[in-house]
Every structure is written in structure tokens, then in C-alpha cells.
Amino acid sequence: MLLELKGVTIPTFDQKCNIVNNISFSVKEKSIHSIIGPNGSGKSTLAYSIMGLPTYKISKGQILFDGQDITNMNITERAKLGITLAWQEPARIDGLTVFKYVSLGIKDKSNQKENVIKALKTVNLEPERYLNRYIDETLSGGERKRIELAATIAMKPRLIILDEPTAGLDLIVIEDFLNIFNRIKELNMTILLITHREDIGMVSDYATLLWRGDEIITSTFPEVMIRYCAKAGLKEYCKRTVFQGEKTGCFDSDYIDRIFREEESK
């Protein structure tokens, strides 16, 4: 297992209450693993905590990366081990060029330019048009997110945490992003994909459902989606989307009804 969370609890910075409680799941190397859950369920909090942000320190539990306990490591140390995070809203910084930004995490300085160009191509940006631009307000939201992806890919990390990589993007672009995720997977990187959209989650091999800070289930994506729908009381929606998908043919209507009954009886 590449990443293991064991009973992870994350309190608010003032320690008054817990944002997520007792979470345990594992992420398999070279897989796409989604974390899904409604707004405010603690997805970003979990992402920041895995990255090692000091304001999201865990109060209980343990985080292992490739078998090594990283619970007490800082962001830089974790990044050097091969963990990185693409933020939900990446920063806009005047004066920092796309070239400089994408090259920041490249360890091998000898063929930096080549690697930057390769990374930009992987996210479908024409290098010549972007290399000398600044990562400031003049980039569109979609461009900024692609550049963030390129910067993380260029690092050649082992685990990329993507926090809502498709938020604010239109449908045509989302399709392109799904292809990019598969390309990242082909580069032998593992993706922890945070999303609350089922059409995005479909690319994932496994998923974990968070609900108000609690972990409900970790399983295959369709299985997790049925639980999500049952929690939210969205039976019709569930049958329309999850049940009909080709990928999910294994779930019949009766199975979905049973899960919903179970949830209602709780």
C-alpha cells in the first residue's frame, strides 16, 4: 500500500471540535482513489492533513507512506518523499512565470526545460504559448488548474492529491481532464482524487465516502456511490446514474433497494 491512514482524527485549529473522525483507509500504488462526500464533509481537510499543513495536524492516528510513518513530517519533507497536492484554488502570483513555476519541483536541473515542456504537453497546453506567461490573474481558471497539474506532474511524485481538479470547469474540458488523469496513471503515479461529482469519480479504481467527517465506506467507486445516494436519500438519481452505467452492471435494482432500506433503518 502506498498510503495508509490509521484512525486519523483532525481537530479544528483551536482544538474545539473534530473536522474528521477516526478515518482508516489505504491507497494502492498506481491506482486512482477518490474521496467523495458532500460540501463540508472534510475532504479538503483530509487532503491538507496528508500533505502536512501545520494548521491541519492530526490529534489521533497515524499516516504511513510506503510503510514509513510520516505523521510528524512537515510539508517539505513529505514533498521530498514524493507526495504533492494540487490545491482547489491554486494561488495567482505576479511575476512568477509558468516556466519557473512548473520547474520548481524538478530535481534533475540538467534537462529542466525539456521536462517542463513535456509536463505542459501532458495537460494539453501549448508550451510556446505559456512558458513566458505569469501565473497571475490573466490566466483563466481552467488554464491555472492545468498549470497546477503540470507543475505536480513535472515533480514526478509518487502520490498526487488533486483537490477538486474539475471544479469550475465546463463539460468539454472535464472530458479532457479525465484523459489527463489516465495519462498520469500511465506515468506510474498514484492519484488521490477529491471530488463530489460522480462523473469524475468514475475514473477511479477505489473510493472512500466521507459524511460529516466520518468515513462511511471504502470500496469500488459504484458501490461507494450507492451508499452516497442512500445517505442523501437520492434513490431515483441513484438508479438513473449508478445502476445504468456499463461499468456498474453488477448492481441490480434489488441490491440498490436493499442498501436504501438498510440506510433508512439506521
Binding site: 500533505m51 510539508i75 490545491w87 494561488a91 502570483i93 511575476g95 519557473k100 520548481l104 519541483g105 515533480m155
Partner: protein
């Protein structure tokens, strides 16, 4: 004067600012040029439409640089005030005149790579006529020993409908003691863009800059940007003044400052004033540290906090 000897250390410091030194020496590039080595005129090259006059005086020179009426220069005029001595006094009295309808870029370099107690003073007058495009870039390199004392004063007159751009950069190496006073008078329909950047790296570095823009003519416009960073006890004080003294004039002052480490002092402060009821003058300022989120994002790419801060300073002060 095509094969002059010019101190290598000074040329090297120019290269650091991405200046092609091949174009720089007389007889090589196309533009007009005036090169000083301490108190001696080492090279002077006029071209069609540009008059250069220089006279050596006791501690320096008096110089006239005149761009003739209607002359539009493609290549920049280079001025280099270099000293590779450790100590001494260099005083320069330049008078720069751009006649009506002329267009020119002037690149001035003040390079003192070995300074340990070197004084450089400059008293300049600029007269820019009507309908001109005038671009003035001044880069400084003061060596690594914080041993320069640099005090330029400039009075600048910008004629009707002219565009004046001023870029001052002191971000490489140490500062030493720098005190700059700049007054710009903007006439009717003129446009002023002035950007000043300085970085005080050590406790021996002190920068004080006061730039003032007086919008004296109707419809004159100006943007003044001041970017200051100080670390390890360095001191950078910048004051950006804009006065709106004419109808429909419009001025803006933008100041950014970043303070790092104990004992550093950094101020970039706007001062605005309007005496005409139809003038509009505004300002914005940002102070203090870089946002934590920026630092976290760079750290997630494997940078340490110190490395992340250096990258952000470079971005802020970048050319």
C-alpha cells in the same frame, strides 16, 4: 575608440542584469554611448541625431545628452557609470534633453563591484519636450560588501503629450547606503509610468527612496509602483508621492513591501494629495509577509520555507 579597455568586473555585473555587453562597448553595438571609469570618460560615441558632450571635473564629469527633434532611435543609448575602485568620490552632473517628437530608450548602469567606501553622487536634470516617448532604465550593482554610498537626485520635466517610463532596479548584490530623490513634473496630456524596486539583504544595507510625481497639466496621468523587500536587518524605506494639481489629471500609487527576519525595516508607503477639485489620485498598498498559502503551495513542490521565500521575492522584484 573601438578597442577600449574597460574594467571586466563592471562588464560582468552588467551581464548579471541580462545586458549584452557586446552591444555595450563603443564600436560594437549600434547605439550611442557614454562610459565612465571612475572620474575619466572612457568612451563616448555619438550617432546621428544624438549629441553627447562630456567634460571631466575634479571628482567626476558634467555631461549633456541631447536627442534631436523628431529623432526616433531604435537602439538604446547606454550610459555606464562604473567604478572598480574600493573607495573614492564620483560626482556626475548629467543634463538629458529630448527635443520635441523624439523617441529614445536610455539604459543607465551604475556598477561598483568592489566598493567598500565609495561615494557616488548624481545631480541630473531631464527635459523631455512635446510628443516624446522617453524610456529611462537605471540598474545598480553595488558589489557584495555593502560599501557603496549612492545618492542620486533628479529633476524631471515631461512636456505635453509625452510618455515617460522610468524603471529603477537595485535587487542584485548588496545595497550599502542609498538615498534617492526624484521629482517628476508632468504637463498636459502626458503619461508617467515609474517603477522602483529595491532589496536590502543585510543589516549594513539601507535604502531610502522618495519619488514624487506632480501632475501639473490637464489630463496628465501617472502610475507609480514601489516594491521593497528587506531581510536580515536590512532597511528599505520608500515613499511614493503623487500630487494632482490640474483638472482631469489621474494618478495612482501602488506599494508592496515584504519584511523578513528580525530587525529588518521595510516601508513602501503612498502619499497622495490633490489641490484641484477635478483631479483624481488613488493608492493601494500591501504589507508584511507572503500569504501562508503561497508558501504552502511552493513547499508542496519540495521547497523549504527559505527557498520558497527567495522565489517569491524574486518574482516580486523580477524585471
Amino acid at each position: 575608440m573601438s578597442n577600449i579597455e574597460y574594467p571586466k568586473e563592471i562588464l560582468k555585473s552588467l551581464e548579471e542584469y541580462n545586458i549584452n555587453i557586446k552591444d555595450f562597448l563603443p564600436g560594437h553595438g549600434k547605439g550611442a554611448k557614454l562610459l565612465l571609469d571612475f572620474n575619466k570618460i572612457k568612451g563616448m560615441e555619438e550617432i546621428e541625431g544624438v549629441i553627447l558632450k562630456g567634460k571631466e571635473i575634479q571628482n567626476g564629469i558634467i555631461a549633456d545628452i541631447i536627442i534631436k527633434e523628431g529623432v526616433k532611435l531604435e537602439d538604446p543609448v547606454h550610459l555606464c557609470f562604473g567604478v572598480n575602485k574600493e573607495t573614492g568620490v564620483q560626482e556626475i552632473f548629467p543634463r538629458i534633453i529630448a527635443e520635441d517628437n523624439s523617441e529614445v530608450t536610455i539604459q543607465a548602469h551604475c556598477s561598483f563591484p568592489n566598493a567598500t567606501g565609495l561615494i557616488h553622487k548624481m545631480y541630473s536634470h531631464f527635459y523631455i519636450g512635446k510628443n516624446c516617448k522617453f524610456n529611462y532604465t537605471e540598474t545598480h550593482y553595488h558589489g557584495e560588501k555593502s560599501g557603496a554610498i549612492v545618492a542620486p537626485v533628479a529633476q524631471i520635466y515631461i512636456g505635453e503629450n509625452s510618455i515617460f517610463e522610468n524603471n529603477f532596479t537595485l535587487t542584485r548584490g548588496t545595497v550599502g547606503k542609498v538615498k534617492i530623490l526624484l521629482d517628476i513634473y508632468a504637463m498636459k496630456d502626458s503619461t508617467i509610468r515609474s517603477t522602483v524596486k529595491a532589496f536590502g539583504r543585510t543589516k549594513n544595507d539601507s535604502v531610502r527612496i522618495r519619488d514624487s510625481i506632480f501632475l501639473e497639466g490637464e489630463n496628465a496621468r501617472s502610475v507609480l509602483k514601489m516594491k521593497a523587500a528587506a531581510q536580515n536587518g536590512g532597511e528599505v524605506l520608500m515613499y511614493g508621492v503623487t500630487e494632482g494639481n490640474a483638472p482631469k489629471c489621474n494618478g495612482h500609487v501602488e506599494c508592496n513591501e515584504i519584511v523578513l527576519g528580525r530587525g529588518s525595516i521595510c516601508r513602501a508607503r503612498p502619499f497622495i494629495r490633490a489641490t484641484d477639485p477635478e483631479a483624481s489620485v488613488s493608492h493601494e498598498a500591501s504589507l508584511g509577509r507572503f500569504p501562508q498559502k503561497w508558501l504552502d503551495e511552493l513547499k508542496a513542490k519540495g521547497l523549504t520555507e527559505e527557498e520558497a521565500i527567495q522565489i517569491l521575492i524574486e518574482a516580486m522584484l523580477g524585471e
